[in-house]
Symmetry: C2
Subunit: 302 residues, 2 copies
């Protein structure tokens, strides 16, 4: 890939994508409000608030990106599902896409979400057959952006893939999310209050997610592609593995918290497209990923 433009590069997923891109891009250009801490020799940072845009076109005509990986979006845990800022990100994403194509861009990958699917209709979500009926403002906005982006791509001959993300875990996950909060409690030798943990989800280690996205970006595979492991693991199993890896399983308190309302018992990705069309599979097992995450949290608390 010649010249890659990336947004959201300081986020949980974005920083791992930046690392994965370093080996596969001629040059990398980052658009964002804050400069990533991590060094990346071939990357140039451009300070741009995508939500308060000057006209992006002059900058993009200078950069002349061939590829776009658009990850930036509101992602504050607990907030993003219903934040009105979701509307601003739809608008910002459309402006970015317009400027990218106007400056000669050829290939784009945009981050979508499993929350686009109708969770009441799907257990194993399939790109071709599972109905799209998002139940949240976040899911509606992502899905609406996808519809417009795909029609726009068809009109402009842009090659576009929509990466439908499932559940990510790994270093840099926000500290109050499930895995980090259990890890931090156990590292502090404190009890970890959990829900029942019966819900089963499709978890993928964040470096694997990043690798899948870069593989997708480098390909010409179009339309929606589920990014997941294809395996359903109960939240209980994830938490128990953390307990074993840290040698403190007795500190875990299942049932000490209520389960979130309205969440489906099973939600997993059909990864046929990822396997067959991209010949891609994860490098790490769930346990290997959790072990690396634990190692990273130990370093943070030194």
């Amino acid at each position: 890939m010649e010249t890659v433009l990336i947004t959201g590069a300081t986020g949980f997923l974005g920083r791992h994508c930046l690392a994965a891109l370093a080996e596969r891009a001629g040059s990398i250009h980052i658009l964002g409000r804050t400069k990533p801490e991590s060094k990346c020799g071939i990357a140039t940072f451009h300070a741009v608030d995508l939500l308060q845009p000057p006209d992006l076109e002059p900058l993009l005509r200078e950069i002349r990106p061939t590829h776009l990986l658009h990850l930036a979006w509101i992602a504050i845990p607990g907030i993003y599902w219903t934040s009105l800022e979701n509307l601003d990100w739809v608008a910002a994403s459309l402006r970015l896409l317009r400027a990218f194509v106007a400056s000669g861009g050829q290939r784009a990958v945009i981050a979508g979400t499993c929350a686009e699917y109708d969770w009441s209709a799907a257990e194993v979500c399939d790109e071709a057959t599972t109905p799209l009926r998002p139940a949240t403002l976040y899911g509606v906005c992502k899905n609406a952006l996808r519809e417009v982006a795909q029609a726009f791509a068809a009109t402009t001959n842009l090659s576009l893939a929509w990466a439908r993300l499932f559940f990510l875990h790994g270093p840099h996950e926000p500290p109050n999310r499930l895995a980090p909060s259990v890890i931090r409690s156990l590292l502090d030798a404190k009890p970890a209050a959990c829900g029942s943990g019966t819900a089963r989800r499709d978890f993928l280690y964040v470096e694997d997610v990043a690798d899948a996205l870069i593989t997708l970006l480098a390909s010409d595979v179009q339309n929606a592609v589920n990014i997941g492991s294809g395996e359903a693991v109960s939240i209980r199993e994830v938490v128990e593995q953390i307990g074993v890896l840290l040698g403190r399983p007795e500190l875990i308190r299942f049932g000490a918290r209520p389960d979130p309302a309205g969440e489906p018992p099973l939600l997993t990705a059909n990864v046929r497209r990822l396997r067959e069309q991209l010949s891609w599979k994860p490098r790490r097992t769930l346990q290997e990923g959790l072990a690396e995450t634990i190692r990273w949290w130990r370093e943070q608390t030194l």
Copy 2:
């Protein structure tokens, strides 16, 4: 209605809405690039390019609109179906909606289109049962805006209706569209080249459309509402009526032009919601509307 904000007030439909609003609004505020020619005593014009927005919120906090009628969109005949500017109007509409609600707005009506429906699945389009599968960039963008606007309204307690427009005719229709071009040819005593005219459509006189929109705006009816006559009339019939009204039927040449490709033979609105929930029906027959349009074109060519 206390304070009505309107966009697109200089357009084919908008100017008629402005006239219809005069009787039903406490005050009217127009946002747009150009000031409407027609005088409207209670209306205040604010020069704003919605596509190149400064922050709209300060202005809207001054106006404090209670109602919003959002019609502005790219509408250049032959261009708007595939124009990339459709994306800009999605973004502009979302910004407007955000600012309207942030400044205390309570009720909004946005112009949608029958092009949101799956034309291969529908002959009589019903809001509740006809699949939404737009085939054009224009239809996709309108439909995506609707999805986001409805989810946004549910989140913010905004009362929102989506006015799904069918086929409008009347004074101020762009001169190259079907009815005006036939009228102008016949007024010039020149032949009018037409297609076969076999397709049947739902036509509504533009003043009736405007009246329906203002009635909808003043109500609390929510979600999508078809705005049409509920009657299917062949294009041939419309053209023949123009021929009779102008006394020159012999100048009409059916079959002299190819029919547009990919257009459905029948496309009409189920107007149950409009009739039952708004107790609304058209004031003019097709013939009465055409007669008024002809009178208007005669005045233009004097």
